[in-house]
């Protein structure tokens, strides 16, 4: 896995979250097991399990005894909410830092975003 993006267990969790957000892992469907994750990402099963447990703690997944882990109802909405709240810090902040370095004003940035919208 990519070493540049945080602890591996977080990356495992983030990847499952992505699948929930983009709909490829629907609510109430079964999440991959720690052994499947471990084989797929070539990581220690304990690390994979830690990623899954993080999602259980967050209420994104829940355990069905003897069956496995499933995506909780409402998980997608919960993740969207969290990601929206993190958006400014994760995306706007580096954008502003680079713009400042290049001498691009906030107004110019806003124009760029408007133009981007128009061209789509």
């Amino acid at each position: 896995m990519n070493e540049d993006a945080g602890p591996i267990f977080r990356q495992v969790a983030a990847q499952i979250e992505n699948a929930i957000v983009d709909g490829s892992l629907p609510e109430e469907s079964q999440a991959p097991s720690s052994n499947e994750l471990s084989a797929f990402h070539r990581i220690n099963p304990a690390t994979a399990a830690k990623g899954l447990n993080q999602l259980v703690t967050d209420g994104v997944l829940y355990k069905r005894r003897g069956v496995g882990m499933f995506v909780a109802t409402g998980a997608r909405e919960q993740l969207l909410k969290r990601r929206r709240s993190e958006f400014a810090d994760q995306y706007v902040r580096p954008l502003m830092a680079e713009a400042e370095k290049l001498g691009i004003s906030t107004r110019e940035l806003a124009t760029m975003i408007d133009r981007w919208e128009d061209e789509r």
């Binding site: 896995m1 993006a5 602890p7 720690s34 084989a39 070539r42 990581i43 220690n44 099963p45 580096p94």
Partner: protein, 312 residues
């Protein structure tokens, strides 16, 4: 953590040479631990002590609750895959496997067969006539199929190509997931296995330089590039393990003394990357070679604080 194996204040001297110098560490039960370090750091000696092949000059070695040198019942539960393992001259591959099958009570014959097929091992060929890589594959097959509660691999991949090494890692992780056991793996190919490791013990000149969870280590250092004066300023709050200069900019491996927000550093115009485990090991070992005093300081601070999740 319950430990499958512990060494306590172990020193090992060969005539003039001190291979291990007051080593104390523990290997967690059912975890995969990477035993890392440069050539001559003492990795093989430590493995020989853990498998009862040698007796320490001083100190105590305990594996599965007993001294492995004196306890046959414990030795049956330890499998040691040695670098450059020798086999009797007339031994064919199948003889080597049959001998191992009688040696290890938990031997898994089906697993052995499937590994022989995967590695394309010629069962009827004499082991000593095989290529280096094929001999390594025999060792790996025995190591995995032994299913020994404590399995040690000492650079088991010599001569194996990238495809065969990947096969080893994949089969190790799959079988470990199915049947967790204590695995101690010494290797120089740190990047290839860093994801497999739960714990890391780094030896340097016979001493423990680092002993920590792999995930903690992954988040304990950053590689930061930027103007030399700003890197120097960073060095007043944290520890700069290595510095490379190019013109007015410096790239440094920074060991964090307290949590940092990587985004803050980026906002301050510094390029921040995670330090791969291999780079951290190289930086620590190089520094230790350059300065014995720094090595001593690192030893006292070797149990780094828990930075896991410190970097957002």
């Amino acid at each position: 953590m319950t430990a499958a194996a512990t060494v306590t204040d172990v020193t090992m001297r060969y005539r003039e040479h001190t291979a291990l110098d007051g080593v104390t560490t523990a290997f967690a039960t059912d975890a995969i631990t990477g035993l890392l370090g440069r050539n001559g750091a003492g990795k093989t000696t430590l493995m020989q002590l853990l498998t009862g092949h040698r007796v320490p000059t001083s100190g105590r070695v305990e594996v599965l609750g007993a001294d492995p040198h004196e306890d046959d019942a414990v030795l049956q539960r330890i499998c040691f895959v040695k670098e450059g393992q020798r086999y009797p001259d007339h031994f064919r591959v199948r003889d080597a496997l049959a001998a191992a099958a009688t040696l290890f009570p938990s031997w898994d014959e089906d697993l052995a067969r499937s590994l022989v097929a995967d590695f394309d091992l010629p069962a009827r060929r004499q082991v000593n006539k095989l290529s280096r890589g094929m001999v390594s594959a025999v060792g790996i097959t025995i190591g995995l199929a032994s299913r020994a509660p404590v399995t040690l691999f000492d650079e088991p991949y010599l001569g194996l190509d990238a495809v065969a090494r990947q096969l080893f890692y994949d089969r190790l992780i799959a079988d470990y997931a199915e049947e967790p056991r204590t695995v101690i793996l010494s290797t120089h190919l740190i990047e290839e296995i860093s994801g497999l490791l739960e714990h890391v013990v780094l030896l340097d000149a016979g001493r423990v330089l680092l002993d920590d969870d792999a995930e903690t280590l992954r988040t304990s250092a950053l590689t930061v590039t930027g103007p030399t004066d700003r890197i120097a300023a960073l060095g007043r709050q944290h520890e700069l393990l290595s510095e490379d200069r190019l013109g007015g900019s410096t790239r440094a491996v920074v060991r964090l003394r307290q949590p940092v927000d990587a985004a803050d550093l980026a906002a301050a115009g510094l390029a921040v990357e995670r330090t791969p485990l291999q780079q951290l090991v190289v930086a620590l070992s190089t520094r230790s070679a350059a300065s014995p005093a720094a090595a001593a300081a690192a030893r006292t601070a070797r149990r780094s604080a828990d930075y896991e999740g410190a970097i957002r």
